[in-house]
Amino acid sequence: MSNKLPDVEEILEGAVKKHGLAVVPLLQEIQEHFRYLPEEVLRKLSQKTGIPLIEIYHAATFYNSLYLTPRAKHQINICTGTTCHIRGSGKLIEEVFQVLGIGPGETTSDGNFTLETVNCLGCCAVAPAMVVDGKYYGNLTPGDVREILNKIMEKAAVEE
């Protein structure tokens, strides 16, 4: 992802062409580009499509996976559903705290990682599970978590 801000008009144009007036897919598409839903973009979307702003806001606040505040570069979701809880997701959360110093709902001060908990990722067979940047990891031990996070950090360092 380049650091240059993507062109709002262009993104909206493309999204509307693709999804029509379906609010949630539109929002998802926008979020893919900005990593969250910036207020000005939503206002523009409302003007462009004629969807009342309140409806957009309603959907954006309703779903947990849509964000109205800026997100970190890397999103860590650790499952704390029943199965994962029993199989030790608490340990994974502790491990993330050890490595990054953040608890659930928090973001590292350099804006690189956000940790969030979710209730069941729908893959209990591989519990405890976690999702980092949309990629699923299962059957995790705290050691695995440390490894995955270190790898991401190394990669980021190399890119810089």
């Binding site: 009342p52 702003l53 309140i54 409806e55 957009i56 806001y57 309603h58 606040t61």
Partner: protein, 235 residues
């Protein structure tokens, strides 16, 4: 036209009506909180519930959203319905005891206690203001945001909405922000200053026997005898 049974009476009503409209057409008063003639039905408050279906297999539905059908059997004031309705009013009282509309409902339907901790919420999420704004005022300035226990009525991004024309329609229709008249015990969650009589017939029959509003006849006449005879003397 469809034929249906309303509180034991065979009646004919227009197709496509809701049960609530049909009942009101025949002069039967069903209490509502989230319903308004000029707005689309929403089915949120459940106060308008009625019992449908043959006894034994009956179920409770919200009459403001349920359409009439051929052969439908409806009871609007059965014991089951009245009991539930009172419970709902009690819950609303605990949510929003400062609302005059809810206090009036409590007095009218003889709810004389609140067993829950009063919460003094500003909103009961009936959605009247949202529909008013969208449907009558063509504003769409307010709507619901968040969900579950965090659900609330809000403007986009919680700042003053550009669509809002300050018409005041939302305040006009809001049942929660009409404040109580300064009756006795205004500190209490329950006012009951205009308390109506309880229907004595429900202690003997499964249904309301008349639709006097407020109930008065039996309590002053026949009701007295009934009271003397009643099993628990609690009428």
């Amino acid at each position: 036209m469809v034929q249906m049974t309303l509180n034991g009476l065979r009646v004919e009503v227009e197709e496509g009506m809701t049960i609530l409209e049909a009942a009101r057409f025949y002069g039967i008063n069903i209490p509502t909180l989230c319903y308004h003639e000029g707005l689309s039905p929403y089915g949120a408050c459940r106060l308008c519930l009625v019992e449908i279906g043959p006894s034994g297999q009956s179920k409770l539905v919200s009459s403001c959203t349920h359409r009439v059908e051929e052969g439908l059997v409806v009871r609007t004031h059965s014991e089951r319905v009245v009991k539930r309705r009172k419970m709902l009013i009690e819950l609303y009282l605990a949510t929003c005891p400062q609302s005059r509309v809810i206090q009036d409902l409590a007095s009218k339907y003889h709810v004389t206690r609140v067993r829950f901790t009063p919460r003094y919420e500003d909103c009961i999420l009936c959605g009247l203001c949202v529909r008013m704004c969208a449907e009558q005022m063509q504003g769409k300035a307010i709507g619901f945001a968040h969900r579950g226990s965090n659900r609330k009525v809000a403007t986009p991004f919680d700042v003053k909405s550009e669509e809002c024309r300050l018409c005041g329609g939302c305040m006009y229709i809001c049942p929660a922000c009409q404040s109580r008249c300064q009756g006795p015990q205004e500190e209490e969650p329950l006012c009951n200053a205009c308390l109506n009589l309880d229907q004595p017939c429900l202690n003997y029959f499964d249904d309301n026997m008349c639709f006097m509003d407020p109930c008065v006849a039996c309590e002053l006449g026949a009701g007295r005898e009934a009271k003397a005879k009643s099993r628990d003397g609690r009428l």
